[in-house]
Symmetry: C2
Subunit: 338 residues, 2 copies
DNA sequence: ATTTAAAACTAAAACGATTAAGTTAAAAAT
DNA sequence: ATTTTTAACTTAATCGTTTTAGTTTTAAAT
């Protein structure tokens, strides 16, 4: 590999001059600069990122901590889309991304250690158990951090507007004539708390009493568990007319349970999901769901993280809230004009 | 950050000794080693990966070049799954992964340049236009490379067995009583060539003549284009009884076109996909498809790439062929016992 | 008691950049 | 004509490792 030194020899100048010329410092003459750049191109020079990183402590590398229940944020469509959007924006700004994990070969490292070891300039955290001590270590650490879908006091956070999302979804369902709306929610997290809270609040404002049995604790992204919980709901004496599932994917479990019971959707019972993944819109019937704006989430996360990195003095903690929108499928029956 | 030097001072030995102790060289005494390791742990020492990379030219970082038509291998379920499996295996062996791309900020770099700049130890290439000059540059380059779903003479390749896959799929459809089997295939590539070749060969062996109009050139992962092409097939005087689509995702377009035409699946016409993505098995009817073994593909790619990296002398070019299996859904009607 | 061999450690160069501080040459000010 | 300023470079240290080629100490062999 051709180095700065090779160029300096060819050009008859010092390595310092070459370095400065390539980095466009002001104390190098125009003619010299141009010549050095020409020669560098001719020789096929590529900067050595480690050497640079060693000296400057900047890698132009962003850590990504994306982990779902199944240990693979990659195959989870929601996080997938957020990640892809994050990646696109990061690359646009000249950053690469590196996945942060705990288990590197034999050794285990904490997320913080891994981040430090790879020297990432900052980390985006999403899709994870935010109470994990290893995550907390990272949050408390000295690296710029942006969290997605969870808010820490002293850190920039990008969140999907789960309060408004759930309100909009319920309002839509209510306007379709439903009042007996059950909710199988996901495991406890701030996302879940916001949604459940908004569920109660919205129904309360609409003057609807919610029987305790209508709110069931489930698991995100788990059709199997959802099958069981759905059956429970179907067995109720006062069965709901609509069930909201933790997300579109687990909704499939719910749909299967309902079909197994000999019921039709939406004729006999209505269902709604959450996320608005591709799949939800190709199912028959199309699922009525709240589509989260994954593009904006990923893009904002990258923007804010890079801003944090590039303006270390002005460490501004920001809160970005991204709204989603109701995707009206065909899975919620209109009870108004029957 | 605590460095090797800090440890050396605390232990009263030279930095060389510390380095060797931590890397378990044979010329350091047991007691010294243990002491140094203890102190290193106490002080929270983390090796600096750039410094190490600078000296050793090894980063324990693998480049990933995953690009689909939409410029985002990440949101494409097939590649997604391959990538995830690749990542899991790589991490198990102590490697991180870095996405290789062309456009870093303002500057554009070739894939090869990007790989060199980031100093990845090797690159896996998949899901891309393999005739792209930038890809060729990488293939011809001096980095260990493994390709997925495309074979280059002098490079290790992991391929899904498209010949056997298509044969199995067609054999299944044939056994269900079909002889008029159309095929909308994807854009030209070695994958497509293998599938189309196998399509003709298998049908030929079964003694079935294929009308020219039954083989249509389409696009992978593009439901919209598939809608149009499906309509063409449906309009034929001698309409096929079964249509094979480029993949499961574009199959959705085909299904929609068929439904629009007032036809039922599989009662009036049968369809088959390719890939076996999650989605194919939750649709109603379940799509009959050939499920590719994405886990094995990703794992093998990582294994072979790392083998190449860790045994530079024995540069063995390998060919790994991974078989898939027919997922018999409900989208192909059994014509035998009507 | 002396030489030889083995074990345990160190010195210093190197990897490829960046950068603070210093130097030289040319231009501007006196 | 001399001093001051500015422009255009260079020197050399530094980042944190690894590693070659010693050096010293201890043990074994003579």
């Amino acid at each position: 590999m051709v180095s700065i030194k090779d160029i300096s020899i060819r050009c008859g100048v010092s390595v310092a001059t070459v370095s400065k010329a390539l980095n466009d410092h002001s104390d190098i003459g125009q003619i010299t600069k141009e010549n050095i750049r020409k020669v560098a191109k001719e020789m096929g020079y590529l900067p050595n990122s480690f050497a640079r990183a060693l000296k400057t402590n900047r890698t132009y590398n962003l850590g990504v901590l994306f982990m779902d229940e199944a240990q693979s944020g990659l195959t989870h469509e929601y996080f997938n889309n957020v990640l892809n959007s994050f990646k696109v924006e990061a690359e646009k700004k000249g950053y690469d991304i590196t996945f942060i994990n705990k288990y590197m070969g034999q050794k285990t490292m904490s997320y913080y250690e891994h981040s430090k070891y790879r020297g990432v300039d900052g980390v985006v955290i999403a899709c994870i158990d935010f109470s994990d001590p290893d995550v907390i270590e990272l949050i408390r650490g000295d690296l710029p951090v942006v969290t997605i879908d969870h808010v820490f006091d002293n850190r920039t956070a990008i969140t999907s507007d789960n309060v408004k999302g759930m309100r909009d979804l319920i309002t839509y369902i209510y306007e379709m004539g439903h009042t007996k709306i059950a909710y199988i929610h996901g495991a406890d997290s701030s996302v879940t708390q916001n949604r459940v809270g908004s569920y109660y609040k919205t129904l309360g404002e609409l003057g609807i009493e919610v029987p305790d049995e209508y709110v069931v604790s489930g698991i995100y992204h788990d059709p199997d568990t959802t099958v069981k919980l759905t059956k429970k709901l179907l067995a109720l004496k006062d069965r709901p007319t609509c069930i909201i599932f933790p997300d579109d994917f687990s909704c499939i479990g719910g749909i299967n349970a309902i079909k197994e019971n000999g019921l039709r959707i939406p004729e006999d019972i209505s269902v709604a999901g959450y996320d608005g993944i591709l799949l939800s819109q190709v199912l028959d019937p199309k699922i009525t769901t709240l589509q989260q704006n994954t593009k904006a989430l990923g893009r904002s996360a990258a923007e804010k993280l890079i801003a944090l990195i590039e303006n270390p003095k002005a460490t501004i903690i920001e809160r970005v809230v991204v709204e989603g929108k109701v995707l009206a499928g065909n899975s919620v029956k209109n009870l108004n004009h029957k």
